[in-house]
Every structure is written in structure tokens, then in C-alpha cells.
């Protein structure tokens, strides 16, 4: 009885293998059609297996987000007018380990340039070195890496935040209670912006007191909840700094619904925020032309890739801090619609 069961299962086993072959085929088949069939499934610049001379560029983002999307737009804008250049966008899923695997993957895939917003400056370093060995220039966006690479293009987090502190302090008349709507720890931007803001306040407006620093996960809804709570604890709150615009807008929502007049500053300068500033609901934000940031990266990249300068040639990396505007009701007009992302 025992044996004949095994007999059956062995027969079954072969059947199973065959079956599953077809299944696997279907699975990857779907993928294949995606690649060859064009349309939404294929990488933005058409041909999947480009000719060897084609220049392949890949952008590994931190996670799907307005900023990284705007970068991608800027990058593609430049690349689209270059001869046979392909561009692929990959999602780091906000996970250091995933991002590293993707780095390795694109390196093996023989891309000529890698753009990346590292999940972690140090964590990405080994992969960047690896790319360097293969002569692949790497461009980091917003979050630098400790390993030397082609160039780093960054919004000016620290000094921008200091400027925000100055602007906010001025509006507050140098006194009052302020709250920070923060991001969870683990991403360096958070620390740079928060430190900048805190230092800026200390230095210029010692009488302004930061009464709350709460995490709102970059998220507008969370920001609403957190600020509501903070306001219950500090009814006399005068100002709010959201380390990104979504959180600042969340704060704005609360202020509006409670009919409070708060000085609220954000960071990044996405178009919804600029609109809110024009409407007078949001006090201000640090605007950076993220399209431009992408273009800069892409332009430099094209030069290096076509000019045949290998990454191994870099003894020191380019370090570009994006110019920024502290957008307030007065200055916001100067930002053209084509610059709004």
C-alpha cells in the first residue's frame, strides 16, 4: 500500500513538474508580453533590449513620491532629446535591502548611468563602489552617499531650513510657541531639516519656543491628527513647521477648520503648497525646482556617459546644492507655472 502510493506520487510528480512548467511560462510570459507589447508595461523609452551602443540609464527612487516623480520627469525631458538613450525607473520601496539588490541588478544589466535617491547614505556605498569598479557613474539625489561618485544633486536641506526658521520667526515677531510635524527617524533628510530649523530658531529668535516635535509620517492626514492633539495641549500655539509640504498642508487644514491664524511653513514646494500660499492659507515653504534638479543630473550624466569619462576617473565628486526660494505670499508669484511640480 505504501509502495503503490509512492508509485502514484512519482507518476504524479512528473505530471506536476510539467504542469508547473506551463504555469511558470504563463507567469513570465505575461511579463514578456509586457516588455515586448509596449504600452504601460514597458520602460518609458521603448525598446527593451536596446542595441549595445544605446545608452541605458536607470533611476532607483526611494519610494513612489511626488518629488522623485518630478525628478524622473526632469531627467526624461533631457534624455528624450538624446539619441537612443533608454531610461528605466525602479522602486526602492523605502527598503535599504531592496534598493541594494536593485543597484546590483542594474549594474549587471550593464546600464551606463545610475540615478539613485539612497535610502541610506552609508548603506548604498558598497553598491556605489561596485558601480565605480565597472565604470558606471552614479548620481545621488537629495541623499548623499559616503562613497565618492559622479555627482550629488541636493535640495538645500539644512540651510533651507535655517532660512525657513528666519522667515517664520520674522512673521511671528520673534516670539511664540512653535511645533514641528516631523518624519519618523531613519532618513537623513529629516535630521538635516529639523536641525536646520532648530538651529535657525536658536540663533535668530531665542524667544521662540519649540513646544512640540511629533512624528506625522510625511502624511497629510496624520499631520491633521497630530496637530489637533498638539493644539489641545498648547492652545496658544503660533507656528508650525512641517518638514514636508503634505504635513504643512495638513496643519493648514486644521487651522482652517478651527479658524485659527497660524504661521505654517512647509518644505519642498510642490504645486499644491504654492497654490495654498497664493490663497494665503499657507505661510510659506522652501521651493526647489525639482524638474531642474532632475535636468541638471541628467545633463551631467549625458556628458559623462557620451564623453566616455569613466566613473573610476572621479577622485572627488561633484556636489551641487540646488538654489531655492523661500516662497511666501510675496515671492511665490515669481515661480512660473512651468516650474511647478
Amino acid at each position: 500500500m505504501n509502495d503503490d502510493r509512492n508509485g502514484q506520487s512519482i507518476r504524479g510528480n512528473r505530471r506536476d513538474v510539467l504542469k508547473s512548467m506551463t504555469l511558470g511560462a504563463i507567469a513570465a510570459g505575461t511579463a514578456a508580453t509586457g516588455v515586448l507589447g509596449g504600452g504601460v508595461l514597458t520602460r518609458s523609452q521603448g525598446q527593451a533590449r536596446a542595441a549595445d551602443k544605446a545608452i541605458k540609464m536607470a533611476f532607483i527612487q526611494y519610494q513612489p513620491h511626488t518629488v522623485s516623480t518630478a525628478w524622473a520627469k526632469g531627467i526624461q525631458e533631457v534624455l528624450s532629446i538624446q539619441p537612443d538613450t533608454t531610461f528605466q525607473l525602479l522602486d526602492g520601496q523605502a527598503k535599504a535591502d531592496v534598493q541594494i539588490s536593485l543597484m546590483d541588478t542594474v549594474i549587471n544589466d550593464g546600464v551606463n548611468v545610475i540615478f539613485v535617491q539612497p535610502v541610506d547614505s552609508v548603506g548604498i556605498a558598497p553598491s556605489i563602489k561596485k558601480a565605480g569598479k565597472k565604470g558606471i557613474p552614479v548620481f545621488t539625489l537629495n541623499i548623499d552617499s559616503t562613497a565618492p561618485h559622479a555627482a550629488h544633486v541636493e535640495m538645500n536641506h539644512y540651510y533651507g531650513a535655517i532660512e525657513i526658521a528666519k522667515a517664520m520667526g520674522a512673521m511671528l515677531g520673534g516670539k511664540g510657541k512653535v511645533a514641528i510635524l516631523n518624519a519618523p527617524p531613519g532618513i537623513i533628510i529629516r535630521d538635516q531639516r529639523t536641525n536646520g530649523f532648530v538651529d535657525g530658531m536658536k540663533k535668530n529668535f531665542p524667544n521662540i519656543q519649540i513646544v512640540a516635535d511629533q512624528v506625522a509620517d510625511w502624511d497629510r492626514k496624520k499631520a491633521q491628527d497630530v496637530l489637533t492633539t498638539i493644539l489641545t495641549a498648547n492652545p496658544d500655539l503660533a507656528g508650525v513647521y512641517g518638514v514636508n509640504d503634505s504635513m504643512a498642508l495638513g496643519a493648514m487644514d486644521v487651522a482652517k477648520s478651527k479658524g485659527l491664524k497660524l504661521v505654517i511653513f512647509g518644505n519642498d514646494g510642490e504645486k499644491d503648497a504654492l497654490e495654498a500660499i497664493e490663497a494665503g492659507d499657507l505661510s510659506g515653504t522652501q521651493y526647489t525646482d525639482v524638474f531642474q534638479q532632475g535636468r541638471f543630473a541628467a545633463a551631467t550624466a549625458t556628458v559623462l556617459a557620451t564623453g566616455g569619462v569613466p566613473a573610476t576617473a572621479f577622485t572627488s565628486q561633484g556636489h551641487l546644492l540646488m538654489p531655492y526660494v523661500i516662497a511666501t505670499k510675496e515671492t511665490v508669484g515669481s515661480i512660473g507655472s512651468f516650474q511647478r511640480w
Partner: protein, 319 residues
């Protein structure tokens, strides 16, 4: 009233018999917060707590049905996102056709739930894997449709009213949450469906042999859960005046947590909407209370862990 008295054994009283401990613990926690920070007890604050948990609460109510049948739904996060995006885009395209927007949003949510339900019930695949796959698929579809950008919602006022609009000083979303709870309680204790859900969670084979439409009921629970998520998506979109395919990441864990904290067993059978509500409130109270004290994030997380352990240890002692 007489009917209520007669019908009591249908379950209501058994809920209070079995689950009275958690509410007590909840009150105790509130008391502690009040002592440290009296403003905690202010009516506005209590109201804002309910307002803050409305979205999670609406989802948790739906999730309770799924978990009572011994299932689970991990896909609600993306459903929330895709519903919001649909609502936003339809509003944009139809120049503010409210009915169409809400209908479309709930429709797409329901269809995701239906797909989950049919696969789980009729193909008999483990719910956790099916809905995990859905989690990934729906997120992907949402991103393909809408991209990661924020979709600003400029109106109509009626839509923005859903989230914040005050009636007698209470945000509409709170009424919505309350309504969902009442509706769910009625469904659970006053309908054949509710009884079937319990029966299936308790003993599926017996339910089948007693002539219950096991597969149909199971599928339906997933639809309900997804509609809950869709509704939550609309509320959130309305509250933040934006929709995005990236919303609701990881929210499924908070929701399931609320349900399980409420005492609904993941293995099915026992469970109740009202207990889920107390679970939801527990989470809301913790976030609010610790926030009021302006406790730094690291200590907040540790405190949350300890509170959950303490609360559940106490309330599990009761039986």
C-alpha cells in the same frame, strides 16, 4: 423593546458578558491620561479622538466580519488608495458629479473585495496569501492608473463636507463612523447573514450541513470589508483634499490590530463589532494621550507596546 428583550440571547448580552473587561481597561487608561493631563477629558479632545479614528474605525468594522469567518484581508490599504484616486479623478472629469464619484469609488472597492472573496471561498486558497497578492496587485494598478502624484480635489463643497463638514459642531465623518457601526451591529445581531458569519467562523462543516450558503456568505464578507475600505478612502480624500495611489501604506496592520485588540479571534467564531469599536478607541486614545504629553516617538512606541500588553493581559484574565 419586548422584541429586544426576547432577542437578547441572539448575542448582544453574550458580548457584554464576555467582553466587558476591555472597555473597563479603556476607561482606566483614559482616567490615567486625565490625571496627568486634565485637558484630555475635554469634550473637544474626546471628539477629536473619535474623529481621528473614524477612518480606521470604518475599515475595522468591515474587517471584523472577515475575521469572524476565520479569514483576513491585507488588501485594504491599496483599496483605500484606489478608491480615493477614483473619486478624485471622476470628480475632476465630470466637473464634480458627487454621486458618480462616490459610486465609482465604492464600486471599484467592492469589485476588489468580490475578487478576493470569490478566490478565497470558491478556490479555497488561504486568505492571507490571496489578499497579500491583492495588496500588491491593487497597489500596482493604482500607481499605473494615477501615478504617485497627489491629486488635488478642489470640490465640490459637498465632497469636502464628507470628511470635515460639521453638523452641530461634530464632523460628518464621525456621524459616518457611528452610522457604519450601528448598521454593522444590526447586520451582526439581527440578520440571518450575521448569524451565518458567526456559524461559519465557529464550525464551517456544520454550517454547510445546516444548509448555509457558506461560500456565498464568505465572499460577501470580503465585499463588505472592501466597501468599508473604499468608504474610508473617500473620507480620507475628502479630509485631506487630495488623493494618491500611495495612500494607506501599512494601514492594514492598524486595522487588524484594532479588530484583534477588540477580542475577535483570528481563528474565527467569537467576535463582535462593539468590541472592535473599543479596540479602535484604545488605539485612538493611546495616540492622542501620548501625543498630548508630547512624548518623543521612541518612547511613544515603547509605551504603546507596554499598554497593549498590559491591557490585553488584564482583559484576557476575565475568562
Amino acid at each position: 423593546m419586548a422584541q429586544l428583550a426576547q432577542g437578547r440571547w441572539i448575542g448582544l448580552s453574550s458580548v457584554f458578558r464576555s467582553g466587558w473587561m476591555l472597555p473597563v481597561v479603556l476607561i482606566a487608561i483614559c482616567a490615567i491620561f486625565t490625571v496627568i493631563k486634565p485637558v484630555f477629558l475635554s469634550s473637544e479632545n474626546l471628539l477629536s479622538i473619535v474623529h481621528q479614528v473614524a477612518i480606521i474605525g470604518i475599515m475595522a468594522v468591515g474587517m471584523t466580519f472577515v475575521i469572524m469567518t476565520g479569514g483576513i484581508d491585507l488588501s485594504i490599504g491599496p483599496v483605500l488608495a484606489i478608491a480615493g484616486v477614483f473619486a478624485a479623478d471622476i470628480l475632476a472629469l465630470t466637473a464634480g458629479n458627487l454621486a458618480l464619484a462616490i459610486g465609482g469609488a465604492l464600486g471599484v472597492a467592492a469589485s476588489v473585495g468580490l475578487a478576493n472573496g470569490l478566490i478565497v471561498a470558491y478556490l479555497g486558497l488561504p486568505p492571507i496569501v490571496v489578499t497579500l497578492a491583492a495588496l500588491s496587485i491593487v497597489r500596482g494598478v493604482a500607481l499605473l492608473i494615477a501615478g504617485p502624484e497627489l491629486h488635488l480635489i478642489r470640490g465640490p463643497a459637498m465632497f469636502l463636507f464628507i470628511g470635515e463638514g460639521p453638523i452641530l459642531g461634530v464632523p460628518f465623518s464621525v456621524y459616518l463612523f457611528a452610522a457604519t457601526v450601528v448598521l454593522a451591529v444590526i447586520v451582526q445581531y439581527r440578520t440571518a447573514f450575521g448569524l451565518s458569519v458567526l456559524a461559519i467562523g465557529d464550525n464551517e462543516r456544520a454550517a454547510f450541513l445546516s444548509g448555509h450558503h457558506v461560500q456565498r456568505v464568505k465572499s460577501l464578507t470580503y465585499v463588505i470589508c472592501a466597501i468599508g475600505a473604499g468608504l474610508a478612502g473617500i473620507v480620507q480624500a475628502s479630509q485631506v483634499h487630495t488623493a494618491s495611489a500611495t495612500y494607506g501604506m501599512g494601514i492594514e496592520l492598524d486595522v487588524i490590530a484594532a479588530v484583534v485588540l477588540g477580542g475577535t479571534s483570528l481563528s474565527g467564531g467569537a467576535g463582535s463589532i462593539l468590541l472592535t469599536v473599543s479596540g479602535v478607541l484604545l488605539i485612538g486614545v493611546m495616540n492622542n494621550g501620548l501625543g498630548l504629553l508630547n512624548i518623543p516617538i521612541e518612547m511613544q512606541l515603547i509605551a504603546k507596546g507596554l499598554i497593549i500588553i498590559a491591557a490585553l493581559t488584564v482583559s484576557s484574565r476575565e475568562n
